[in-house]
């Protein structure tokens, strides 16, 4: 056999060997992944776990935990790839930038959720990476935990990850509340505060994480759930303290529902780094 056909056979063999990865995987690799949850009052910080509300109540927390389920990174599947031009928002939305649009009621909605809405019932979010986070998240302890995915994080399938969600099933807070509006608050001597709410909700965030052959394959991920100091805004604690303490343990109560909604609106902060 002449040299040229031999070189051709060798080339075909080499190309074939390079293409034998597992179908559906191998487009990306999960590197370091961490999760942290925290209560960060920010501009409402009174110090020592305390937060000032918009009604001038002073809420001090001795403990704050969320019961969490899975952290899921998902892509939108089905619906024919509905998308929109941020420069021309769909009806019901205005001014799109930074991955979100303003809805007519003033809320911010992620692009992924708008695309899902445009696709109607034909589209749904499909998990790409799932991290079990069973157990309680201590919002006052600080620190972070390593995330271990379900399945093999070293062989990620091709995907357009556009959403991250964390299931939350329970909110428990304990501390005290004092202050309030002059003349109608609780007063300087506070009353105990106890919150124990069974919820069925998610905190989430949009993100832009393409997993593809032409992207850097190694993905380092840092996820933070931050509950800020405005979480108690709008709650008038004085009428709730008639018994000498404030107990919020039923979502049917307006204050409890408002607090649960505020916690679930906290969102997730996600930092991504990619490398080869």
């Amino acid at each position: 056999m002449s040299p040229h056909p031999l070189r051709l056979v060798a080339l075909v063999a080499a190309l074939s060997a390079g293409c034998t990865f597992t179908p559906g995987g191998g487009f990306g690799t999960l590197g370091e992944a961490t999760f942290a949850a925290a209560f960060e009052p920010g501009a409402r910080d009174l110090g020592d776990g305390g937060a000032l509300t918009d009604l001038l109540y002073r809420v001090h927390l001795d403990s704050a935990t969320l019961s969490a389920g899975d952290l899921v990174l998902a892509e939108l599947s089905g619906g024919g790839g509905a998308s929109f031009d941020p420069a021309a928002p769909p009806p019901g939305y205005t001014l799109c930038h930074g991955g979100h649009c303003h809805s007519e009621d003033g809320a911010l909605v992620d692009y992924a959720d708008i695309e899902a809405e445009l696709a109607g019932g034909a589209a749904s979010f499909v998990p790409v990476l799932t991290f079990p986070l069973s157990g309680d998240l201590d919002l006052l302890a600080g620190g972070s935990v390593a995330l271990d995915p379900v399945g093999d994080g070293s062989l990620l399938p091709a995907a357009e990850v556009s959403k991250a969600t964390l299931d939350v099933s329970r909110i428990r807070l304990a501390g005290s509340v004092s202050g309030g509006p002059e003349g109608s608050g609780i007063g300087e001597i506070g009353v105990p505060l106890a919150v124990d709410l069974e919820v069925s909700g998610q905190v989430g965030a949009g993100l832009d994480l393409p997993i593809a052959r032409d992207e850097d394959p190694i993905i380092d991920l840092s996820v933070r759930l931050v509950v800020d100091g405005t979480v108690f805004d709008g709650i008038d604690f004085a009428p709730l303290s008639a018994s000498g303490e404030v107990i919020l343990d039923a979502l049917e109560e307006e204050a409890a529902a408002a607090l649960a909604a505020a916690v679930l609106a906290s969102g997730l902060e996600i930092d991504l780094e990619r490398s080869r």
């Binding site: 009052p41 920010g42 501009a43 409402r44 910080d45 009174l46 937060a51 000032l52 918009d54 001038l56 941020p86 420069a87 205005t94 001014l95 799109c96 930038h97 930074g98 979100h100 303003h102 003033g106 809320a107 911010l108 800020d228 100091g229 405005t230």
Partner: protein
């Protein structure tokens, strides 16, 4: 002579058409402008504890303001609007802007988001639509008091990707 004038005339007509065809000056994205000026204190203002004609004003424009707040006490600054105006309020501190009033009527504040061009420096910006002329008041609140950086600008040039 006639031929030279004809060439010149065609050149002038072409140049004029190009000038009219959309060589408009680009409008700077106010988000970028805000990032460029976030380290400047701008005009110093002390917030008032009441909303009235004497409430210190922050001016819609290109200049920032540094507003001093008392601890754990709502403070107010005034904004004068001349007509239907789309504006952006950039804040150097999150969760300080509490409310917006038109006279004594509270207006709904939209949900803020970070300035994507410098999110750590400007963690919040609000897209505000002032539909009527008049005096508006921003309510500000900080547990510890101190200074907050604000810039209120026209929304022209913002938001398209």
């Amino acid at each position: 002579m006639m031929i030279r004038n004809a060439h010149a005339a065609r050149w002038l007509l072409t140049a004029g058409a190009l000038a009219l065809a959309g060589c408009e000056p680009e409008v700077e994205d106010p988000a970028a402008h805000a990032c460029e000026h976030v380290s400047e204190a701008g005009t110093a203002v002390t917030a008032s504890d009441v909303m009235d004609a004497n409430t210190p004003e922050i001016v819609l424009g290109e200049e920032p303001h540094t507003v001093t707040l008392a601890a754990a006490t709502p403070g107010y600054v005034r904004v004068e609007i001349e007509g239907d105006t789309a504006a952006l309020l950039f804040a150097g501190t999150a969760d300080v802007v509490q409310g917006l009033f038109h006279g004594t009527e509270e207006e709904s504040l939209p949900e803020p988001s970070p300035n994507d061009l410098c999110a750590e420096d400007i963690p919040e910006h609000y897209d505000l639509d002032f539909h009527e002329a008049g005096s508006y008041y921003l309510e500000l609140l900080s547990a510890q008091g101190g200074d907050v950086w604000l810039l209120l600008s026209s929304a022209e040039g913002h938001g398209h990707e």
